[in-house]
């Protein structure tokens, strides 16, 4: 009855009478086939996990990240606070504003400067737009993972709207290097507000179509509902974050829990679902996109008409001796930086804590006992970006 595979199951799983878990409990080594999913697999990304299957059921899963490790944290120690910006956004170029957001916040605390109010608003706008870019990209891949090619093409096309806006705002399509300690690099261009409002209006129309063709599709619901259940307590124990945590019924959003910059002035709801399954994990980012449109609209309205967008720093600024910890809500959950300064112009130590790495810890718990066909829907619903996890 017990074997080495059943030990990997949580205690509460052992009581359930799921056929998949029965298979796991009775798995014997001579019936298993070991499959390597990735890094040369269309369903993995820059990532590998080995699974063992007994028939159609997965009895063992071993995530193996680290194929795109770049040593970002060590690289930070050899560059000064400003030089760090462009390379820090490389781990997740689709969400490059958010990954530099919390870095900038932490460095500002070390340097003891405050960002002008207009700068704070522009930062938040860029952050929301970039969240949309990332989530659309994620949704496109989720669509193609489930064999829905239209859902791959539509978000990839609509992503261009926000890329256009960000290109007008920052001058670069994907890697913006827009947030810098002390504010943002440049002011918003003329006519940006009208363009942005127009695009968001169109995008909200498109979101309805997404819902019709993808989320309300009975075949999609059949595939994702009651699949890969991550109960509330397990989600807390495993330390998942972002949309995965919210899909397990915990309304936790860093923008709401510890508001940074101007988010305490914005009226928005934290989107969460209580079904804890793969469908909830796929649907919460979609709800977030809708909420993000709302937030952007409010930010554009409340933004001061004129003013400074950044503090003028001295060249090669030196931080005070001490440490700073700041976190923001990125597309994948809480993204935090812990920076230790020894008083020189370079950080002594930079630690990046990313949502992707915390979410992937839940993968073995969800995959064991599920079907091989559920692998893509469970894996990609974890909102995992392999490059970011490896840093």
């Amino acid at each position: 009855m017990t074997n080495k595979y059943s030990e990997s199951l949580d205690s509460k799983f052992k009581e359930t009478t799921n056929l998949g878990l029965e298979v796991v409990k009775e798995a014997s080594e001579d019936r298993l086939m070991k499959l390597s999913v990735g890094p040369q697999h269309p369903g993995s990304g820059h990532f590998r996990f080995t699974i063992k299957v007994d028939g159609d059921y997965i009895v063992y899963c071993d995530p193996d990240p680290g194929y795109v490790h770049r040593g970002e944290e060590k690289m930070c120690e050899y560059r000064n606070y400003i030089q760090n910006i462009p390379h820090l956004e490389r781990p997740v170029i689709h969400d490059s504003t958010n990954i530099t957001y919390s870095y900038s916040l932490a460095v500002e605390e070390l340097l003891g400067i405050e960002v002008p109010r207009r700068g704070q608003f522009i930062r938040a706008i860029a952050s929301e737009l970039n969240r949309q870019v990332y989530t659309l990209y994620w949704l496109a891949i989720y669509g193609i993972f489930l064999g829905h090619s239209t859902m791959f093409m539509w978000p990839t096309g609509d992503r261009e709207l926000f890329i256009d806006l960000l290109a007008a705002l920052t001058g670069a399509r994907v890697t913006h290097a827009f947030n810098i300690p002390g504010g943002v690099r440049n002011d918003i261009p003329e006519g940006f507000k009208e363009k942005c409002l127009e695009y968001i209006k169109y995008f909200e129309k498109r979101l309805k179509e997404y819902e019709d063709i993808f989320y309300n599709n009975p075949l999609f619901r059949q595939r994702t509902e009651n699949v890969g259940i991550l109960p509330k307590q397990d989600a807390i124990d495993l330390g998942v974050t972002g949309s995965v945590l919210r899909a397990s019924g915990i309304p936790h959003d860093v923008r709401k829990v510890e508001p940074y910059d101007v988010y305490n002035e914005i009226d928005f709801k934290v989107q969460y679902m209580k079904t804890c399954d793969s469908f909830a994990r796929a649907y919460v980012p979609f709800l977030d996109m809708r909420e993000s449109c709302n937030i952007t609209r409010q930010l554009l309205e409340k933004m001061p008409e004129s003013g400074e967008v950044r503090v003028k720093l001295q060249s090669n600024p030196k931080g005070r001796i001490g440490e700073a910890y700041k976190r923001v809500e990125s597309g994948r959950g809480a993204l935090s930086y812990y920076i230790v300064s020894d008083g020189s112009s370079k950080p002594y130590r930079v630690k990046i804590s990313v949502g992707s790495f915390r979410n992937i810890l839940a993968l073995p718990h969800l995959l064991v006992g599920s079907r091989l066909g559920d692998m893509p829907s469970i894996y990609w619903a974890l909102n995992y970006w392999p490059v970011e996890a490896d840093r």
Binding site: M33, L35, H41, P42, G43, D56, G143, I144, F145, L146, G147, H148, S149, T150, M151, M153, W154, G157, I213, F214, N217, L219, F220, Q222, R223, R371, L372, G373, D374, M375, P376
Partner: protein, 428 residues
């Protein structure tokens, strides 16, 4: 010719190109062709003409010289063409056999790509062939032919090499059973419908053989999935066609079409038509039943180790199968070639002085092709709107729901026949 600035002359000619040597090489080539044809080719033709009895047509012996005389008088071609199109070889190879099916398959691939592109707000193939990329398929075919075929090191080589050919041959064998117009069918079997299901039964075997011979894990899983799927949908597939057999009292496909002279069987057996449609989607491994090729789970399923023309052949076979199943749906439920007569009965061109076509046949071909293409579009449609489904849902659908549905329609048909509303073969 500097890198920066100035115009860069684009040329495909080699560097040491000289026009004189180019002309010279062509002259040499012509010289050798003339020498070889006159010394080897002509004697060979005469030897063949001497030994082989040539067929007669319209009171003339068909010789190469006859074809030469046609250049002078084009009307002489008409009896030859009439003779040729009534040979069995023409029927099997050109129409309504392989070439017609392959043309429809080629058109299907192009239409699929453009149709899907329009649905997904993109453009689709654009460059090959100037007009909306109509030669994209040829470009793809050339690419596939020029690619190296890689057989995995542990593969069972004889089976690995023969199964793709077997796949196309089996799919092409199906086209021989499809009646396209009255009298236009390669082999008019009395058990035509049964023969089609018998040949369709080979496909899971071929998929399994190929996937097993690859000696690779993902193809193996894909092959098993193909086997499960095709067997699960075989039974509702046959059962849904059975209510048509009850209605028409025949297994002969031509008879089934002719039994629909008054109304389409779709009117009496819509549930069967639905089951047939869903089962043919599963049989064809199309979305949402493309589990054997599910790329995010098992790379490319049982096609993972295919490369070059092996992949090309399997794709050709798949599209031939798509044509056959769409045509079968048209024959069983949509009245085959039946349709209003739109071609004029009497069309006599001045230079022949006689009828050049049979209006009923041409009309039949026209309606059959239109209906089949419409059906193909309907089979392509789910690819744009549906995700893939899971194997347990698929098996549940096949074994429980579809079988029950097809039985329901069969009982309706039986009740109508016993109630005297209709008789086998049409309305009472």
């Amino acid at each position: 010719m500097a890198c920066g600035g100035g115009q860069v002359k684009m040329t495909t000619a080699p560097k040491d190109f000289r026009f004189g040597s180019f002309v010279g090489s062509i002259v040499w080539l012509l010289f050798w062709i003339i020498v070889i044809v006159s010394l080897v080719g002509l004697p060979l033709i005469f030897i063949i003409l001497f030994y082989i009895p040539l067929p007669y047509s319209n009171g003339e012996v068909i010789t190469p010289y006859l074809f030469l005389s046609m250049i002078v008088d084009p009307t002489r071609t008409i009896p030859i063409i009439k003779f040729l199109i009534h040979t069995d070889f023409f029927r099997a190879a050109v129409f309504p056999g392989f070439m017609y099916a392959a043309l429809i398959a080629a058109a299907t691939i192009f239409v699929e790509r453009k149709f899907l592109a329009k649905m997904q707000l993109r453009i689709g193939p654009l460059y090959a062939g100037k007009i909306e990329g109509i030669f994209q398929l040829m470009a793809d075919g050339l690419k596939l032919m020029s690619k190296e075929i890689i057989a995995p090191s542990g593969a069972d080589k004889p089976i690995f090499w023969t199964t793709p050919i077997l796949f196309v041959a089996t799919a092409a064998a199906l086209t021989a059973l499809i009646p396209v117009a009255p009298g236009w069918v390669v082999s008019d079997l009395d058990v035509g419908l049964l023969a089609i299901f018998a040949i369709l039964g080979f496909f899971p075997l071929i998929a399994l053989l190929f996937s097993w011979s690859c000696n690779s894990k993902y193809p193996f899983i894909g092959g098993l999935r193909a086997l499960h799927q095709m067997i699960a949908f075989e039974i509702p597939f046959i059962l849904s066609a059975l209510s048509i057999v009850l209605l028409s009292a025949s297994l002969n496909l031509t008879d089934i079409v002719e039994a629909q002279y008054a109304f389409w069987f779709f009117a009496i057996a819509p549930i069967s038509a639905f089951v047939f449609y869903i089962s043919s989607l599963a049989e064809l491994e199309r979305v949402p039943f493309d589990l054997p090729e599910a790329e995010s789970e098992i790379v490319a399923g049982w096609l993972t180790e295919t490369s070059g023309m092996i992949y090309g052949l399997i794709q050709l076979g798949t599209y031939l199968k798509l044509y056959v199943l769409a045509a079968l749906f048209v024959i069983l439920f949509m009245g085959g070639w039946m349709g209003p007569q739109i071609f004029p009965q009497e069309l006599i061109p001045a230079f022949t002085g006689e009828k050049i076509y049979n209006a009923t046949v041409v009309n039949g071909i026209f309606w059959f092709t239109i209906k089949t293409f419409g059906m193909i579009m309907l089979i392509l449609l789910p690819r744009g709107i549906n995700p893939r489904i899971r194997i347990d849902i698929l098996l549940h659908t096949g074994w429980y729901k579809l079988i029950v549905l097809s039985f329901i329609n069969m009982f309706i048909v039986l009740a109508m026949i016993y109630g005297g509303v209709i008789t086998p073969g049409g309305l009472q």
